[in-house]
């Protein structure tokens, strides 16, 4: 009996040991992270690139972050201000944040509301070129109430006032360090941009731009038992395949970011047995955008692809619907993304409150319906299988996208399906840095849209789609007068849509917002202006010996790095 108790005791001690061992800062030793895009700078206000935002989130923290379910959790703030707890004023014109008590920067000085107010001043400086300026839109002033409290005053009612100081894109920076770095002097502060002083679990020891960052545990981190890791190496560069290999096959690295690889390639790597993948779905949707205006090269540059010239074929909704009905989204997902994708019928696929359920009939490919629609629209099958209308115009369209293996596979498949219903698609692919670069002189940018349809992925930051859905309002289309800048890529214009969006901007209740956003989504999708294809998740890989990873697509993937630990 005694022996049994002793055994139980030993077993219990063994079971408790990992916990006991972890109760001390730095006890897990060293952590290796690899991002195949290397960080260039540790200041998310000067670069909006994901690699830079996520790497700086290890050091810099916001008032609140989104968790893995898209809910706000306080980080530097004591609690999340809402209308109910009085943190957001009843007229939705201001929000009051209170810092936790006793917060210290990694250099040992206290974090005060002056730092918070300075952060706003830094990003709102007109000459600073702040990448996160949109988060500070409509901010009138940031008032320091006391040493731990700030109030953000807006010039218009803000139903969702969580722009400034929320999420990895808008962390708090130290006033003392960045004081002389505002406006045009921002780029001169190399030291501050490479070695920011933060409140996060780690602090920067060595930063080599576009290569590697060394971190060590922040001695002044607010939880004395965290982080579990003492040191951290953040390696950047290379390609997704070898990053995945380094985690899952050779075990050199503990965590790899964003493995955009073919499903079978990932499966082979997993057989290496040293790591596993984690995936999560956010708001990224691969879609085909339909051009509502005429991109014909015969038009003069002032009217080509502008609302002055409506599209000769796509002005008929039946043709647009046929394009969508002919696509087998399930097959595309399986070939292109595997477990990291889901067939999409909405452009707002997530969070659940905003996701419409009215469009599920797009899931099944319906060639007969597509053919019937084209017949109805007066397009009859010609001698070579391509449809012709009464004026003798052939149903030939240009289909462009960025250069990317998966996108070219999609193009080939979709071209085949469209051919089966009598539409000829001419394929084009453009280098991503040209396609997504906003050079007004280039004819190949996605904004200029010198094609009939184009394919790419887009998403929205955070959990609220108001700004994202606002892109399809009249007047926001890229055009020559706006140097081809603008978010309304389709050149869609519907006054009813604009009115509904205005209503969204004035509604605070989350369920009502959900209902309006779903309606907006349905207008776009049921008009077949945007043809959603795949809801794309993010796939990361971590070593089997790394515990505590909770993949978060609503904020930085490294949001809870303080809790990461070594498991045996």
């Amino acid at each position: 009996m005694k022996r049994k108790i002793a055994l139980f005791g030993a077993a219990a001690a063994l079971a408790l040991m990992p916990l006991a061992a972890q109760a001390q800062r730095g006890s897990s030793g060293h952590l290796n992270i690899i991002y195949w895009q290397a960080p260039s700078i540790l200041n998310p206000f000067l670069s909006g690139g994901t690699k830079d935002v996520e790497s700086s989130s290890i050091v810099l923290e916001p008032m609140a972050r989104y968790d893995q379910d898209g809910m706000l959790v306080p980080y530097l703030a004591e609690s999340i201000p809402t209308v109910e707890n009085g943190g957001v004023s009843a007229d939705l014109m201001s929000i009051t944040w209170t810092l936790r008590e006793g917060l210290l920067w990694s250099d040992g000085t206290p974090v005060t509301s002056a730092d918070v107010a300075f952060t706003a001043e830094y990003c709102m400086h007109p000459e600073g070129g702040c990448a996160q300026a949109a988060r500070f839109a409509d901010v009138e002033s940031v008032e320091v109430v006391d040493a731990r409290t700030v109030t953000v005053h807006y010039s218009v009612p803000k139903p969702v006032p969580y722009g400034p100081f929320v999420s990895a894109q808008s962390p708090i920076i130290q006033r003392a360090q960045f004081e002389n770095c505002t406006g045009t002097r921002a780029p001169e502060c190399t030291e501050a941009n490479f070695y920011p002083i933060g409140t996060g679990a780690f602090r920067v020891v060595d930063f080599r731009p576009n290569d590697v960052i060394s971190f060590e545990a922040n001695p002044n981190y607010r939880d004395p038992a965290l982080p579990h890791f003492a040191t951290l190496t953040f390696k950047g560069g290379g390609d997704a395949a070898s990053a995945g290999r380094a985690v899952m096959e050779t075990g050199e690295m503990d965590y790899a970011w964003n493995l955009q690889l073919a499903p079978d390639v990932i499966a082979t790597m997993q057989q290496g047995g040293r790591g596993t993948t984690v995936s999560a779905f956010g708001t990224l949707v691969e879609r085909i955008e339909v051009n509502m205006t005429d991109p014909s090269a015969d038009l003069p540059p002032e009217t080509r692809s502008t609302r002055a010239a409506p599209h000769p074929i796509f002005s008929d909704i039946r043709v647009r619907e046929a394009l969508s009905r002919a696509i087998d989204r399930g097959l595309l997902t399986e070939i292109g993304y595997g477990p990291a994708g889901r067939p999409a019928c909405n452009i707002v696929p997530n969070p659940p409150v905003f996701a419409s359920e009215a469009n599920e009939n797009c899931q099944t490919q319906d060639m007969d319906r597509a053919r019937a629609l084209l017949d109805e629209a007066g397009w009859t099958v010609g001698a070579d299988g391509i449809r012709v209308n009464a004026e003798g115009r052939r149903l030939v369209i240009d289909y462009q996208t960025s250069t990317n293996a998966v996108r070219q596979d999609f193009q080939a498949l979709i071209q085949q399906w469209w051919r089966e219903i009598g539409i000829e698609a001419n394929l084009r692919n453009v280098n991503a840095s040209v396609f997504f670069g906003g050079d007004p002189g280039s004819p190949d940018t996605f904004q200029k849209f010198y094609a009939d349809v184009e394919m790419y992925a887009n998403n929205f930051a955070g959990t609220d789609p108001e700004q994202y859905l606002g892109a399809w309002r009249c007047g926001l289309e890229p055009r020559p007068e706006s140097q081809w800048q603008g978010e309304n890529i389709n050149r869609f214009c519907d006054p009813a849509y604009d009115a509904l969006h205005l209503q969204l901007a004035q509604t605070a209740d989350i369920n009502e917002r959900g209902a309006i956003a779903r309606q907006l989504n349905d207008i776009l999708v049921q008009n077949f202006v945007v043809i959603p294809l795949v809801d794309r998740g993010r796939v990361d890989a971590h070593a089997t010996t790394l515990g505590g990873v909770v993949l978060n697509v609503w904020d930085s993937g490294l949001w809870n790095i303080a809790d990461w630990h070594r498991v045996q």
């Binding site: 190399t190 050779t250 670069g437």
Partner: protein, 336 residues
């Protein structure tokens, strides 16, 4: 010789100015945008503000002139100050700032140079050390099995691209055998034999890939040059005078055969600095080649322009050195 060198050096100035202008205009005309890899969630007007903050709002000739001033006056002063430790040499004020990192281009180049010199430089030296004896013996025993094997290996080294041999070696030596790491650790500080071992292991594969390529090239030159000389009259004379084969080959033939090879080697030295773009990318060696390619992808115009012009200077310089070496080694050649 002196007037020749001076004339060439003076001629180099307009050449380099022209090269700089051409590169700048090419970058200016090429499509691409430093904001291209920002997420689409950043609205267009914010992007425009960011472009203006990078100085892209100025006219092209203003930007070219200010770059030229910074490149020829400010940056050399900082390099001089860093090398000599004399702080008064520094010209204060703005420097050439990279779009990606918002930090001075020269600092990043200084940080990247050692890796490139170690990996690419070492493979160049190994390449020469291997190629010269192989080339000599292949020529001396022309069409022997050794010559055939050497020809085969150098053809393989010449024709297989490094983006094929690199991943192949990784697959064999890292994934199957587990001997070498696939990620180059640039933070490694060598202060013990253990760390030295680690450094050797991580350098092994990139150095091997590049050595194969360099050796393949130089072997062919060496062999061809030896063959040209082997049939010359002076070789027959030497043999007729009763000299040993060793003396004939290694003293008479080799010295004459080395003249073109040395110039080829000198002309190749700038490639040591330009780095091996693909190999560095494959093995994640953060050298100048990797720096250049990421800068091109990111449309980081100041970085691409500065690096390209530095490379142009090196190429012009080593061309001159090769010409001078040629005259020094071969008394028949006179420039004056």
């Amino acid at each position: 010789m002196f007037t020749f060198t001076m004339r060439r050096l003076l001629l180099a100035i307009p050449t380099l100015l022209f090269i700089a202008l051409v590169i700048f205009l090419l970058l200016e005309l090429s499509p691409g945008d430093p904001m291209a890899d920002m997420p689409l969630t950043i609205p267009p007007e914010v992007r425009q503000q960011m472009r203006l903050a990078l100085g892209l709002g100025e006219a092209w000739y203003v930007r070219f002139y200010s770059w030229l001033y910074l490149f020829s006056v400010v940056e050399p002063s900082h390099v001089m100050a860093n090398m000599t430790g004399l702080e008064w040499l520094r010209v204060e004020g703005p420097r050439i700032i990279s779009f990606q990192t918002r930090s001075p281009v020269a600092d990043i180049v200084a940080q990247r140079l050692p890796q490139t010199l170690w990996v690419v430089g070492l493979s160049y030296i190994f390449g020469i050390l291997l190629a010269v004896p192989i080339g000599i013996y292949s020529a001396y025993r022309q069409y022997s099995w050794f010559d055939q094997a050497g020809t085969f290996v150098s053809m393989v080294g010449f024709s297989l691209p490094t983006f094929f041999t690199g991943p192949l070696l990784m697959l064999i030596f890292s994934i199957w055998l587990g001997w070498f790491p696939i990620i180059y650790d640039t933070t490694l500080v060598v202060d013990s034999f253990y760390d030295f071992g680690l450094q050797l292991r991580q350098m092994a594969m990139p150095v091997f890939v590049l050595t194969l390529y360099n050796a393949a090239q130089i072997t062919r030159f060496m062999r061809a040059s030896m063959l040209d000389n082997m049939t010359q009259d002076y070789v027959r004379t030497a043999r007729a005078k009763g000299m040993t084969e060793k003396v004939v080959v290694l003293v008479h033939v080799l010295r004459n055969s080395l003249i073109p090879v040395v110039t080829v080697i000198a002309l190749g030295i700038p490639t040591v600095f330009t780095g091996a773009i693909i190999t560095e990318q494959v093995f994640r060696v953060n050298g100048l080649g990797a720096l250049l390619i990421t800068a091109i992808y990111a449309s980081d115009i100041p970085m691409v322009l500065t690096l390209s012009v530095v490379f142009a200077i090196l190429i012009v310089l080593f061309n001159l050195i090769a010409d001078i070496l040629y005259a020094v080694l071969d008394p028949r050649i006179r420039y004056d």
